[in-house]
Amino acid sequence: MRKRKIKNYIGLSISTISAFIGLFFLLWIIVSLIEKGFHYVNWSVFTQNAVSPGDEGGGLKFAILGQLEVVSIASLLGIPTGILGGIYLSEYGKDSFLSNVIRNVSDAMTSIPSIIIGIFVYALVVVPMGGFSVLAGSIALALLMMPIVISSIDNILRLVPNELREAAYALGAPKYIVIFKVVAKEAIVGIVSVILLAISRILGETAPLLFTSFNSNFESYKLNKPIATLTVTMYDYAMGPYDSWHHLAWAAAIILTFSVLLFNIASRLFSYWRFRR
């Protein structure tokens, strides 16, 4: 008996200790990020553009706006298509064999290394277009978003009770009205939560942008031209030799982390609200 008690004590202690080790490291990252990052975030980071390499000062304005542009277009591409796909699975395909195949494949796609998606879009969009572009970057991010949105929307819509649908049909409603005016409305809070989560997921992506939207020193927002994004810029600056670049990279790091967490938390709040109703 004593042996078992000792084993118990040891086992639980090891778990607790490893938990604390893990949590400690994670806390350390957050703290150092905040400490160093805030130090370098100031107004000029947002309002100034990059300067010649090696010069002091400069900001991330172009990179931030570029990030916003790429993410927005990606969302416009990926979210509606994902929602429609999810609607198909939940309202039309239901439990058919093919629909379950799509569900599994879609789920699998969420785990594909994002750099591979970048290469895929490079081959299919950048090469034919003859150069890097905002569009290519957005398409890459949209392809990352779609599977997440499809799976989540499918799950959310399936939770809507069937009686609600039947009541609408019984009043003479056609399918599209049942779906959009009744089912989607019932699930709207969950749908918003999914959208926010999908955006938070692609906001911090770097790898897929490396060979699609690439990078740019010229301020241009044209769809068919490359663009600077916060994530790629952060990578470039961090790996570069200049201290001023490193400082900006810290600022970028904290801006990115903050934005991603903002969307993630907002998504959770909506999700929580959904269950309170």
């Binding site: 649908r165 049909y169 019984a170 003479g172 005016k181």
Partner: protein, 259 residues
């Protein structure tokens, strides 16, 4: 089943040689009867007897799912509603349904009632307002909600929501209204309010009420059809069936010996 149509009034619905299949399983067997206009017909029987299955044939709810098959005819005023060429949306305009659980849509009270009206193409705001008011009054809900038509319907109590569903169904002026165990999830007071409503509505509509509550069937219905395993065992005026059932199985069921 031999055809039964001993009613003392005009006929509204005629069920002829009717069979229904869930996939390969024969769920309703050889039904042959008629339903009187502007009355309440109670469908009774133990769980699985087919009463809900039958009720959902009148507005062809089964068409929403695959592998179901109708055989025979169901006439509403000389139109066979089982004809594949029938416009289902028009049918569901004529035949309304109230379900077992309240199914208020996630919209305002006004929008709930106006739902069916807008589908029919009624856009005029005054016309909508008038019809919504009339429906709520006919459903005995107007006084309780007239000051909060623009509030979410899902905030109403269960009994109120169910009356909302009734108002929603009658707003489009159906000729037939099917109640599928609509008071099963409600408290006695709400139940009694809805039963009063059913009786009042039956002056202008033909009502088919599925119920497992025999006292309810006795209270509200003029005719009763007793189903067992998909077959019609007995069909008669309610007061006759309940006091003097002709079939032993009916008697056993009514006495509570099974189901």
């Amino acid at each position: 089943m031999k055809y039964i149509c001993k009613i003392d009034g005009k006929q509204k619905i005629d069920v002829r040689n009717f069979n229904f299949y869930y996939g390969n399983k024969l769920a309703l067997k050889d039904l042959n009867f008629c339903i009187k206009e502007n009355t309440i017909l109670a469908l009774i029987g133990p769980s699985g007897s087919g009463k809900t299955t039958l009720a959902r044939c009148f507005n062809r709810m089964h068409d929403l799912y695959t592998n179901n098959r109708y055989e025979g005819e169901i006439f509403i005023d000389n139109t066979n509603i089982l004809d594949p060429k029938i416009d289902l949306i028009e049918l569901r305009d004529r035949v309304g349904m109230v379900f077992q659980k309240p199914t208020a849509f996630p919209m305002t009270i006004f929008e709930n009632i106006a739902f069916g009206l807008k589908l029919k193409g009624i856009k005029n705001k005054t016309e909508l307002k008038d019809k919504v008011e009339k429906a709520l009054k006919d459903a005995a809900l107007w006084d309780e909600v007239k000051d909060r038509l623009d509030k979410l319907a899902t905030n109403l109590s269960g009994g109120q929501q169910q009356r909302l569903c009734i108002a929603r169904a009658i707003a489009v002026d159906p000729e037939v209204l099917v109640f599928d165990e609509s008071t099963a999830s409600l408290d006695p007071i709400s139940t009694s309010k809805i039963e009063d409503l059913m009786v009042e509505l039956s002056k202008k509509l033909t009502i088919i009420a599925v119920t497992h509550n025999l006292q309810q069937a006795a209270r509200v219905s003029e005719y009763t059809l007793f189903l067992l395993d998909g077959e019609a065992i007995e069909y008669d005026k309610t007061n006759i069936m309940f006091t003097n059932p002709k079939d032993k199985k009916t008697q056993d069921y009514i006495m509570g010996r099974f189901g």
